[in-house]
């Protein structure tokens, strides 16, 4: 609200007409003749007309449909096998374990399930565990962690964040790793045996490396004091209340996979987006190019049943899956692409017809003008 309070401006103006002082002042008052200030910047003025959009529709259709078909085929070629081992059903092998679960039991309950693979799994097979109705994305749960503690910060180790409540301290000692997420670490042990034609059980080697994000394993999660002597490093801390063993005993055999940088732990710490989720458990590497990784036949899944889910009506699954360039089996993308591509193509055709007719009408209507 530029205001000029009195006629002083006018005065300067009058004198300015005579003297030259005013000329400069006048010039500055005159708006600059720049393209920007005059709103005359050179501009591209695209007009979307049927003529320009029609080819786009066809092109989209032509690109999307093949991609969609490719995705769909890829997804269909992915082999996936899923087995629920919760033990809800009384006929289920794990029924007893599920029923008799108690936090205090010292001896782990084990059960095993038989299943048959109809088709051989050719490439690397990825073994997932799946949980249902498990709200890893609950706000109270998601925030209940201390990232700086997990990053190896010694002060956070001794004094975890308030967010970890009520899993922050136990018996006066700070919990490492603190928080609800860590506390509820999935601790079932799954083993896979192949029953060959002779009836002998062959244990299938499960690789536990490479299941977590590389950056998580190598940057985000760090043990305090490096990896030297974790027992000392975690001294003065308490194990999470629901854990059977402290964090430095997660994988005593491999120091690169122990403590906070245990990959099972890291995978668990990446909270799932939806209440039904799967997490990578193990990888079954392809041994030779000639034999399939998992030939078709009978298998036994041995479970050390430590993880109770019935209390919240949850389910536990074991999933075997091969992986393609697009990830795991998911027909959604393929179908979506095919649909969208078809719609575009169809619209293109419809538009072409309409446009053709409309154009004729338009030109004929233009003539009288």
């Amino acid at each position: 609200m530029a205001s000029s309070y009195n006629a002083k401006e006018e005065d300067g103006h009058h004198s300015g007409a005579a003297g030259h002082g005013g000329a400069g002042a006048d010039k500055s008052r005159k708006p600059d003749n720049t393209a920007f200030k005059q709103q005359r910047l050179p501009a591209w003025q695209p007009i979307l007309t049927a003529g320009t959009v029609l080819p786009a529709f066809f092109v989209i259709g032509l690109i999307f449909i093949p991609i969609g078909i490719g995705l769909y085929v890829t997804s269909n070629n992915i082999k996936e096998f899923e087995i629920d081992y919760t033990g809800v059903d009384s006929k289920s092998e794990c029924y007893a374990c599920a029923r008799n679960f108690s936090w205090n039991s010292t001896t782990p309950c084990t059960c095993s399930m038989n299943f048959t693979l109809e088709q051989p799994f050719e490439s690397n097979v990825f073994m997932y565990y799946g949980l249902s109705n498990f709200y890893q994305n609950h706000r109270r749960y998601v925030k209940s962690r201390d990232d700086s503690q997990l990053n190896g910060d010694p002060t956070a180790l001794k004094d975890p964040s308030k967010e970890c409540e009520p899993y922050r301290t136990s018996e006066g000692l700070p919990i490492a790793p603190c928080g609800a997420i860590a506390n509820s670490l999935f601790n079932d042990t799954l083993e896979l045996h192949y029953v060959d034609s002779n009836g002998t059980k062959l244990e299938i080697p499960l690789v536990k490396k490479g299941i977590a994000w590389w950056t998580d394993k190598h940057v985000k999660f760090r043990n305090p004091n490096g990896n030297t002597n974790l027992t000392v490093a975690f001294q003065g801390t308490s194990k999470p209340v629901n854990w059977g063993k402290p964090v430095y005993e997660l994988d005593p055999l491999d120091p690169e996979n122990n403590g906070f940088i245990n990959e099972d732990f890291i995978v668990w710490m990446r909270t799932a987006a939806l209440p039904t989720f799967r997490k990578l458990y193990r990888i079954i590497q392809k041994k030779s190019s000639t034999t399939p990784t998992l030939p078709s036949g009978r298998y036994i899944l041995s479970i050390t049943y430590n993880y109770p889910v019935l209390s919240f009506d949850g389910r536990k699954r074991m999933i075997l899956s091969t992986i393609s360039w697009m990830g795991g089996k998911n027909p959604f993308l393929g179908i979506a692409y095919i649909t969208v591509g078809s719609i575009c193509f169809f619209l293109g055709v419809v538009l072409l017809i309409i446009h053709h007719k409309y154009d004729n009408r338009n030109t004929s209507a233009d003539i009288p003008n």
Partner: protein, 1113 residues
Amino acid sequence: MLRRRLNRLLGGDERRVDSRTVYVGHRSSPDSEGFIPPKFCDNRIVSSKYTVWNFLPKNLFEQFRRIANFYFLIIFLVQVIVDTPTSPVTSGLPLFFVITVTAIKQGYEDWLRHKADNEVNKYLVTVLEDGQRIRKESEKIKQVGDVVEVEEDETFPCDLILLQSSRDDDTCFVTTASLDGESNHKTHYTVPDTEKDLESLSATIECEQPQPDLYFVGRMHIYKNNQEPIVSLGPENLLLKGATLKNTQKICVAVYTGMETKMALNYQGKSQKRSVVESINAFLLVYLCILVSKALVCTTLKYVWQGKPGQDEPWYNEKTQREKDTNLYLKMFTDFLSFMVLFNFIIPVSMYVTVEMQKFLGSFFITWDKDFFDNEIKEGALVNTSDLNEELGQVEYVFTDKTGTLTQNNMEFIECCIDGFQYKHRDASSELDGFCVTDGPVSKLQQKAGREKEELFLRALCLCHTVQVKESTEPCLDQVDGLNNQVDGLGIDGDGLGIDGALSHLEEQRGFIASSPDEIALVKGAMYGFTFLGLESKTMKILNRNNDVEYELLHVLNFDPVRRRMSVIVRSSSDTLLFCKGADSSIFPRVRQEEVERIRLHVERNATLQEGYRTLCVAYKLLSAGEYAQADAGLREARLALQDREEKLMAVYNQVETGMSLIGATAVEDLQEEAAETMEALQGAGMKVWVLTGDKMETAKSTCYACRLFQKSTELLELTVRTLDDENRRREEKLHDLLLDYHKKAVQDAPPVKEGVTSWSSSQDYGFIVDGASLSMILNSSSDSSNSRYKNLFLQICQNCTAVLCCRMAPLQKAQIVKMVKNSKGSPITLSIGDGANDVSMILEAHVGIIKGKEGRQAVRNSDYAIPKLKHLKKLLLAHGHLYYVRIAHLVQYFFYKNLCFILPQFLYQFFCGYSQQPLYDAAYLTMYNICFTSMPILAYSLLEQHICIEVLLDNATLYEIAKNAMLRWRPFLYWTVLGLFHGLLFFFGVWYLFYNPALQDNGQVFGNWSYGTIVFTVLVFTVTLKLALDTRHWTWINHFVIWGSLAFYVFFSFFWGGIIPFLSQQRLYFVFANMLSSVSAWLVIILLILLSLLPEILLVVFRKPRGPHSRQ
């Protein structure tokens, strides 16, 4: 005297006293022992709101008084107090941003005000102190009672009483151009009986306390020789601050200073105008309802869900002790608040700041427009209120003042008609004949009236006026002499060269001062043959060809609006002459009838249909000695009469001014440049133009014709005193009948407007003329029932007329009319344009007030926009206004849309996370979405978009019409909301289907909840930005830069936040974005969703018929 002082001492507060006493020169009066200087405020003008010290608290207080800011403050406080899903930063930062930007803007505006104040306060004035002249800054006039000396062309520093003038007749001339825009000179008088020696003057002035109305009453006590003469003071002695002195040097005494000056008092209390875009408040309410209902739904569902066994507190996710202890209902309430906070982004904080910024920056384009720059006054457009830019695009009614707005106060002599032959003054450049004959009355081309007549006519113009010649500061007689010779050869035959050059020379040296501008125009017009040199002690000097002629001025028969003519009686060497000029209607009956017809033709043509010139007829009469003696005696007697002086004078005037012979008529150009084109364009744009003027009907009507507001085919409906005066019936009855009659004609018989087809061209146009008296009868009718009925009838008639002319209006009535229309059905947007103080009331009343013109700097302050010329109105409305309306409408709708589809996925996510208020997006994204990622493109759009380019808009006025705020009505709002819903649903569920199997990488690793949010957010940012890109019709490099730039910035920021920098490695988003990009599926789903979201948009664009010519061809 004693009582008054006691009063002051006891009361303390000066305002309780109803008058103030000013000691001239601070000299105590002889009888008052122990002079106590009264306390008055100093002469500092303060229009600024803040000082450096109180800026922060005061500005914050002002800002939080706004309901929106307050709302966001509450949200922020809730976040701080209650355990909410998002950190207080997410809403605190935008709020801080908004507050800061607004504070900076207001600070800048206040700084400008400080600057303006300083300019006034540091203005140098001469103060007389103890007999010495001291130059001081204006603000240092400490005291009321200081004696100030003002010189020519200086501005009065405060309200002054004129004590002494350098002119002999104790007068001074003043222009109040900067106060009320009137450029004519006003005469003020010194206080009578003051001594010439001011140093010994000892006096007190007693006057009212400061008050805004311009009336002034006071008394002055002068003490000399123990006498105490009391002189009364009136408005003619008071010189107002801000006015400029012309012609004299004089000395005055300050009575009111600083903030107590009448100007400052008048300035206060300008009401704040609000734009209709504030109709977004209704949209806001809808969104607030959506917000509350979302929060309610979530809270309810949460407790329903928690009621199921095992869900509220599974073993893996126990509550903290504090949560367990909290009362259930309190928890419900805090849950509700948490949801509110989570979804509060749906009501965008940043919309306010973007709208503010858009308006603020947008107004620069108006001031920058060089088309608004006027070379004469060296000024461009001025924007006083940036809030109303878009209103300019919605105007339905234009109220314009006539004098000085449609017409120019600077009149120009265009042509004259002598004895039936027409003479035209051509442009100097076209032909060097200053004065040449164009056509005779009936194709008697190249014929001229007799030379005698010509001379007589010019002499009449030269003598019959009350113009005064302003003494030039350096009289250079040589040059005048030189001019004599030059002018010599020129004469009316016009065969000389360089007359214009000579004239302009002459004009430079000689200023004319007159009470009405057309007199000057006529005197200047007469310069083609005669030059008026001045009036010296009853003698008029005229430079005729090569010799000075002196006429003795015997009598001036002054102009008055009833007679509508004026005369002078002069005596030349030989005989006594009476010259008379006046309106045709008042002259024609008084001249010999045979002369009339030839001139009437010209007069009528000029006055009405074509040019709309202001015409005056000139007549003369040779007075014999006897006649003169009789007239002289009559006049003297009448002037000395004590009773009924006016009437007696009138009688004599009428008696003298008879039997004259008509010489000719003059036409003075008065119309503003391109007034007719502008008015036509406005009408073409669907605006109804009303002319509100204080002028009489005839002139106003001719102006209307000239502006093509009335066409030849327009049927005029008149509702004036003239039509109402019917000897048989009372005025009220007649009014009633006329109103009904007109209503029937204009409203009922009018063919119903068919959709789409413009039938108005075929049907009859109506023009409506109403005058002040009739209007007050309509508005202030005695009985209440008929009052409102008349008002309705009147309004309906007016609304069906293409143009309405209201003449003889008081300023207040102008405002009344504006108010009436403004509050009528559909509350149309009104615009008032005027140029002076008498228009201020209607300018303040209308939605948009525009001041036109070079003068009236104070009136400018009351306006919202100021443009130098009327013709600029066209571009201001058709181009700027229209564009700003489209821009801001799009801006507002887009903002709601983008926040709806921003927050909807977050809402949907609640159904999948146990209603736990888990945010879908990371806090950084929540905060930055509206500030950084999506704010700049829409701001650039709203400043630069030209959906139709300016030239096309100017050429096709019809493009202007957007019916009744159409782009901010519920339909487009609904469209945008549905679009937002569609996009939000698509984003969320598209990704949801993808996350059916979260193993999305080719190494079998899985994605978590933050990846989910990041994918949705990426799709969101891209879609929302590209949607805007699709809507952009005018891609300048800025648009390109900002649109692609903010997308690039989003990607860059995500990488950065995702932990390229080591210290962010503890972030929960650590490498989430990079990992997402490494997944082919994520890429595919992002592309798919963006495309799918924009598909309907593209389809719509294709199907929508392209409207109007878009390109520049």
